[in-house]
């Protein structure tokens, strides 16, 4: 039996140069579990969609070692690059950001959970509630 990952972000809006923080939890597995967990990787990534070929990059990542019982409860912080790009919904291009929690399970398909993040310009947390441009 596999227990899921609970990924929670403190805020889903972050400024460039700022941080995305949150908590990740996973209950302990039964002693007879056949899913040995090696690590939990948290990544903040950016990817594009639209007319052009996809661009994707990982902006920052954190790796948390697994406990013996496969349980996790960790707070994390991931850094948003100061150069951006910001979340954008344009005519040909859409830029989106998300946090991914990936459970590295030995000899099995990794479990993944995603939470979208809105990356806004510096000084824009109080102004933006959706991707740029505001129109």
């Amino acid at each position: 039996m596999t227990y899921g990952i609970d990924l929670e972000l403190h805020e889903n809006v972050a400024e460039v140069g700022g941080r995305v923080s949150g908590e990740v939890r996973r209950p302990a597995q039964p002693a007879d579990s056949s899913d040995p967990v090696r690590a939990l990787r948290l990544t903040l990534y950016c990817k594009t969609s639209g007319r052009g070929d996809e661009d994707e990059f990982i902006a920052s990542k954190v790796e948390l070692p697994a406990a013996d019982d496969g349980a996790f409860y960790n707070r994390f912080e991931l850094v948003v690059p100061s150069a951006g790009p910001i979340s954008y919904d344009g005519r040909l291009i859409r830029v989106s950001w998300a946090v991914e929690a990936r459970l590295d399970v030995k000899l099995k398909r990794d479990l993944k959970v995603h939470k979208p993040v809105l990356v806004v310009p510096l000084g824009g947390v109080a102004v933006y509630d959706r991707p740029h441009p505001l129109q």
């Binding site: 052009g52 070929d53 344009g90 040909l92 830029v95």
Partner: protein, 206 residues
Amino acid sequence: MLPAGSVVLTPKVAGRFASGGALVAVAVAAAVALVTGAWVVAGIAAALLASGCFLLRETLVAMYRWSDPELVLPGEALAIGGAIDLLYRRRSRGLIDVSKSHVTCVLSCQERATYRQGTTSTTDTADVFEHGYSGSASGTPWGFEAYISVEVPIDAGAPTFDLGNNEVRWRIETSVDGTNMPADSHSFDVTVAPVLAEQMRGVQDS
């Protein structure tokens, strides 16, 4: 003397070099044809040279009398929603009356999306913002200058980025209008930073 932190931009492609280079190439071709006795080719090249000089006379005069312009920005990059004063300046050879001249500039933002189909790479573009601004020119001991107020919109385009296949570019295209002014235009690449201008911060979007 420019304020501290000012950035001086030069045109992306100097039109004077492209025009001058084409004329020089034709002139060289005419000279080579003359030397080798290819009279027909020499005649055609000479005709091309004459018509090129006629068509590009304004540019040629500008090449002689004016240097390429410079655009002075208050900083490395523009902020979203911000208004700034750009300084357009240009040196002249000799004293030229620039009264009743003004500089026009167009700020534009373009999305560029590149995709591949087989071995063919195609780039689609979309102009997502374009707005014109102008400023009056005033003479200086070394030429002329004009201040132009430019605003970066919060509701169009995106801050400059280049991710490989997907890119957003900003550009300022300048031209001058006036009796003694060269009828040419220049393009400057500018950077819009992912920073909201101070005056826009805390302004809640409705």
